[in-house]
């Protein structure tokens, strides 16, 4: 068994934040005696990620995703717990560690704004001591994969959001990191750029064997990229496993959409079927996951069916249910 890329045990971060009531009197009082509140951003989170895995890290806003990523990339000290990434303790911030990781933030840029991306890439190549020949080869490969030759010589401030995100990815990967932390890489991007970036990440992961921990609010990102999912809510890890497993656990049913011929009114339905919508000849039914195939066969035999599809409930609805209820 190989050593895991990322090992996290009981990782906890408690912020000590100042608080005060509104109003002048409260503000004067807080000058003399400031009061503080302990906020648990991350509570006893444990997980292990193997080399080459792509893991989705999801949860509602404020759940502790970014705090966890910041601890793993060495920007934050934890309050408690331990973490080893590539054998290093991240918050010691050793150069040997920083050279092997990369963190790409969808809402923060490391590109120099006023000059073409190529200049920023060259600086990063030097900072990470990438040998010139290696640098050029990596750059050519990344640029070809992302189809961005035309962007290299234009000032970054003249690029669109999607184009800038491509640059961020190149900037983050030039030094061949072994672990990549991606914080909402598709934030604010249009559907086709999102799809392009996803294809790129899958292909890059396949070629380089990079370990990726990715946060996103777009379930499509996670569904397309990550066979495995970590779900965090109010600082605690609620789920660690396959995406499909999550859907099965939460929504143990399937949806059957039926189109019936004209003049079929109020058809007799088998037992264990719940009608969700009904208009004209179209029906949406909810059935238990295990009974789905039997019921489908029965429907096809007994009713004049024009069209029939069996679907999983939409992922967004499943996730929303967890975010709202806070439990699995």
């Amino acid at each position: 068994m190989t050593e895991p890329s990322i090992f996290v045990r009981d990782l906890t971060k408690t912020y000590h934040v100042p608080q005060r009531d509104p109003g002048l009197r409260a503000s004067l009082r807080s000058l003399v005696r400031p009061s503080h509140l302990d906020v648990d951003a991350v509570r006893s989170v444990s997980f292990t990620i193997q080399p080459g895995e792509m893991v989705g890290f999801i949860g509602p806003n404020g759940a502790g995703k970014t705090t966890t990523l910041k601890m793993l990339s060495g920007l934050l000290f934890p309050t408690r717990g331990e973490a080893h990434v590539l054998g290093y303790v991240p918050w010691r911030r050793q150069a040997g560690y920083l050279r092997q990781i990369s963190m790409v933030l969808g809402n923060k840029s490391q590109m120099l704004w006023d000059i073409p991306p190529l200049d920023t890439f060259r600086v990063l190549g030097e900072i990470y001591s990438v040998p010139p020949a290696d640098f050029q080869r990596t750059l050519d490969e990344l640029v070809a994969l992302l189809e961005m030759e035309a962007l290299l010589t234009r000032p970054v401030r003249n690029l669109s959001l999607g184009e800038r995100m491509k640059c961020e990815l190149v900037a983050g990967l030039l030094h061949h990191p072994r672990v990549l932390f991606l914080d909402e890489p598709t934030l604010g991007l249009d559907v086709s750029v999102q799809a392009r970036l996803r294809r790129f990440l899958v292909e890059y992961n396949r070629r380089s064997g990079i370990t990726v921990l990715l946060t996103s609010h777009y379930m499509a990102d996670v569904a397309a990229l990550c066979p495995r999912l970590l779900l965090i809510h109010q600082g605690a890890l609620l789920y660690d496993g396959e995406l499909n497993g999550l859907a099965r656990r939460l929504a143990p049913f399937k949806l059957i959409r039926l189109s019936l011929g004209e003049g079929v009114d109020g058809p007799a339905l088998p037992a264990g079927v719940e009608t969700i919508t009904r208009e004209d000849g179209s029906l949406t039914l909810r059935v238990g996951r295990d009974a789905a195939s039997a019921i489908t066969a029965q429907l096809l035999n007994t009713l004049p069916v024009l069209d029939l599809t069996v679907e999983d409930p939409p992922l967004e609805a499943v996730i929303d249910q967890i975010y709202q209820e806070g439990t699995l």
Binding site: K70, L75, F77, R99, M103, L105, S109, D114, V123, Y128
Partner: protein, 263 residues
């Protein structure tokens, strides 16, 4: 330490800034104005005689040198380090295997090059018009170089530790403004230190500010005895060590706090 990385940073910062050269020329022009006013005040006051032992032409030489030294030692990055911390851009720098100080030093050096493109012709033109009396010799010229470098390092690191207080307070800029006011009064800007009234002169000689600007100017214009020169040199070194120690301590404490509360 990674010299190639540092050099690449300087080049890229320089490229960025050349995009805005007119803005930086304007800044350089602005910083030139106060010493230029005092140049005119003192050279007019001296008229055909001397004030405090300096003639009109000597005042011109003093202030033209001061304009150059002021530009070369002005640490404009002291004002931007706080922004890095407040706006969370420090995160990006902390993720790199190169201390964020190098990024700041790169901006500093890149800035000097851009300002000099403007300031050297400007001072040369003023020298043609105002006819300074230089007493610079090879000796003072040789001594000037290390005192200028020390002056820059002192001014930079003195401002740096103040700027790093932004880790604790969002309004650390106030201390930088105070430092600029003290420099204006005590560093030889409003008047050469030799002309300051008693208590102010003692303060100027004790505090670090004169060693950031006035001292190298006095060295080059040949105003100092050998004893004064060595004392000044020693003061520069001591104050620089203090500034370096404070910078290192504030950085360590600041990073610990930053890592505790998040950017």
């Amino acid at each position: 330490m990674n010299p190639r990385g540092g050099w690449a940073l300087i080049q890229s910062t320089w490229l960025s800034w050349l995009q805005y050269r007119s803005f930086f020329f304007l800044l350089a022009f602005m910083w030139m104005i106060p010493p230029l006013i005092y140049l005119l005040v003192w050279s007019t006051a001296a008229g055909g005689q001397t004030v405090g032992g300096l003639s009109r032409g000597e005042f011109v030489a003093y202030y033209l040198t001061l304009i150059l030294v002021n530009q070369l030692t002005y640490a404009q990055t002291n004002w931007t380090v706080g922004d890095l911390i407040r706006e969370g851009r420090m995160n990006t720098l902390l993720l790199r295997p190169l201390a964020p100080l190098y990024d700041t030093l790169a901006s500093e050096l890149a800035g000097k090059i851009v300002y000099m493109i403007f300031i050297i012709p400007a001072v040369a033109l003023l020298a043609l018009l105002l006819k300074p009396e230089w007493h610079a010799t090879w000796g003072t010229g040789l001594l000037f170089v290390p005192t200028l470098l020390l002056a820059w390092a002192l001014r930079f690191f003195w401002g740096y530790w103040l700027a790093l207080l932004a880790f604790w307070s969002t309004r650390a800029d106030g201390l930088l403004a105070l430092q600029d006011a003290l420099i204006f009064l005590l560093a030889g800007m409003v008047a050469p230190v030799a002309l300051l009234p008693g208590p102010m002169q003692s303060a100027a000689i004790l505090l670090p500010f004169r060693y950031m600007i006035g001292f190298p100017v006095e060295v080059l214009t040949g105003q100092l005895s050998a004893g004064e020169l060595w004392l000044g040199f020693a003061a520069q070194v001591v104050w620089l060590l203090v500034a370096l120690t404070l910078s290192a301590a504030v950085w360590r404490g600041g990073i610990r706090r930053y890592a505790a509360i998040g950017g």
